[in-house]
Amino acid sequence: MRMNIELTEMQIDIIKELMNVGVNESTNILSQILNTEIELNIPKITFCQSDELMDELTLLGSEELTAVNMKYKGEFSGTSQLVFSQESANKIVEIFSLQMLDNDDIEENKSGAMIEIGNIVLNAVLAEFSNFFKDEFEFYIPDFYENYKSEFYRSIDDYSDNIILLGRTIFSINQFDITGDIIIFMKIESFNTFIELINKYIKEIQE
């Protein structure tokens, strides 16, 4: 089912701000693990539907993608993901391990390390949403997809009635800038609830 997703500049600004506050919260924890300053920034957000998602993800510039997947349930429910190209995922694992890793070591540890990093970032973003909407979200333990593109294509029909919020995220660590995407899948009803809550907030601040 196609849906016309048109949001006002104000609505987009608030959602972008929410996500940025969330990722900034996660930088404290990531910096502690790395013992060095790390910055996360979401310069752009986009809303799309499942058939448009892969076009957006091709901007990550890789044949294959990896993703950490975490489900949540609350006033609006869905799935959140942190997606990287294979190369960026390998680079992140190597940077966070604080040691030189060969390909075998990266393969052994990639899933665990990416789950932890994805968990930290997605937790922070979803916790910010949960606080903002004054709603107790129920969260699920994250899991990891190595061949995300193929996985997504296999289950694309399951997402046909989903609206997808995509935030392009830049991890600045030492001299490296690594780009990933935070993706939040919401069913249409959840998306409507989400927008209603945003509108309610806009009304509150304008009164």
């Binding site: 924890i29 665990g112 937790n123 979803l126 916790a127 107790e136 333990i141």
Partner: protein, 395 residues
């Protein structure tokens, strides 16, 4: 409270993972049997104790900041084995600790704003050890494979060397059998005629025959000279003794050697080499190279033609070219012309004999001096042989 938790979680005693439950003051409320067996701390020694006091490593901000958030109802939190190695230090041997991945889950507590935290620890040591073993096996197999590929490469090189040696031997026999035998037969016939018919010959006939004998002897001598030099290279008897040489001077000497032959064919040899150019090379090898290239240029140029020798300097090398106005070398022969066994032979424009051995020698000597040789031949322009020699001992 403790009883209530035990009733709720006693099933966790039968799981193969370590489970611990703490409250917001880090007091241990539940400690399953698996953790007791790993740590040696029984339930009654751990429950009621403070987790941070038992395991001070958890006071580090990388752990504590995230555990603290869990009491506020934060989403499940995961600690990977790569980034932390372990959550609780548990010895598996004298020098080795368990490799663990840990998940924290926030559990609402009755009548409290703060949640309990369930800590679930998975022991990944076996998995890690198996992976390391697999990695060692893979590395060993890769090393073995590389060794075999290397050995195969060496064998192929030996085969190629043997093939070249065999080709050299064939060429040697071919020269002995044909190129040396034919002119010798001619030479013998001339001497036979001379010795048997001398009394019946006029002075002019004797003079013509002795000129023919001289030319035949010269050709044979040149061939023998090249053959001997080539044979000395093959046996490793030639030593490379480089020194500073004036290219113009060596070219001049070699032009002088070709002067008589060139004059007979009305061929002009032009030495355009700048007098300042000096190369760092073995003098007898450079002489052999120029002698052969100039001799060939004269041999394959048509009457009233010209031969030019010039040189430029480029990237620490002198680039010397010998240009003739002679017959074209077929394109498919150009890359074979310097190889023993494949070399291209063709008589000169006046029927002069040719073995192709001279160019093989040129290539060997240019390479021994650290240079390269090539040829270009086009219809109407003749052929240009170009070789390089180092300008200094740096190369």
């Amino acid at each position: 409270m403790k009883k209530e938790i035990e009733n709720n979680f006693e099933l966790y005693d039968f799981l193969p993972i370590g489970i611990c439950i703490i409250d917001e003051s880090y007091e241990i409320k539940y400690w399953n049997k698996r953790l007791a067996s790993w740590t040696g701390l029984e339930k009654d020694e751990s429950e009621g104790k403070n987790l941070l006091e038992l395991y001070p490593n958890l006071s580090k901000p990388a752990f504590k900041m995230r555990i603290d958030l869990m009491f506020e109802g934060h989403p499940p939190t995961y600690f990977s084995s790569l980034l932390h190695k372990y959550f609780l230090p548990v010895k598996v041997s004298e020098n080795e600790l368990q490799v663990q991945s840990t998940t924290l889950i926030s559990i609402p507590k009755k009548n409290s704003t703060k949640n309990l935290v369930l800590i679930s620890i998975e022991n990944e040591t076996n998995l890690h050890q198996r992976f390391q073993k697999y990695k060692q096996m893979k590395n060993k197999a890769t090393t073995e494979l590389n060794k075999r590929v290397e050995a195969e490469k060496r064998i192929n090189e030996y085969v190629k060397q043997l093939e070249e040696t065999n080709a050299s031997k064939d060429k040697f026999f071919s020269i002995i059998a044909h190129d040396l035998k034919s002119p010798f037969s001619g030479f013998l016939n001339l001497t036979k005629i001379l010795s048997e018919q001398l009394n019946f010959m006029t002075i002019n006939e004797i003079s013509e025959m002795s000129s023919a004998l001289k030319e035949s002897a010269n050709t044979l001598f040149k061939l023998l000279e090249n053959l001997l030099e080539w044979s000395r290279i093959q046996r490793g008897l030639i030593k490379h003794k480089p020194e500073k040489l004036s290219l113009n001077y060596i070219a001049k000497n070699n032009i002088d050697i070709q002067y008589e032959t060139a004059k007979q064919k009305k061929i002009e040899i032009l030495n355009k080499i700048n007098e300042d150019i000096e190369v760092y090379a073995d003098v007898s090898m450079v002489n052999t190279i120029l002698r052969n290239l100039l001799s060939n240029a004269v041999k394959f140029s048509f009457e009233d033609g010209f031969v030019e020798i010039e040189a430029i300097t480029k990237d620490d090398f002198a680039v010397v070219s010998v240009k003739d106005s002679g017959i074209v070398i077929p394109k498919d022969k150009l890359d074979k012309i310097f190889n023993i066994g494949e070399s291209y032979t063709n008589p000169g424009t006046s029927g002069e004999p040719s073995t192709g051995l001279g160019l093989v020698l040129c290539k060997e000597f240019v390479q021994l001096n650290g240079g390269r040789i090539s040829v270009n031949s086009t219809e109407g322009s003749g052929s240009i042989f170009t070789f390089t020699l180092p300008l200094s001992s740096e190369h």
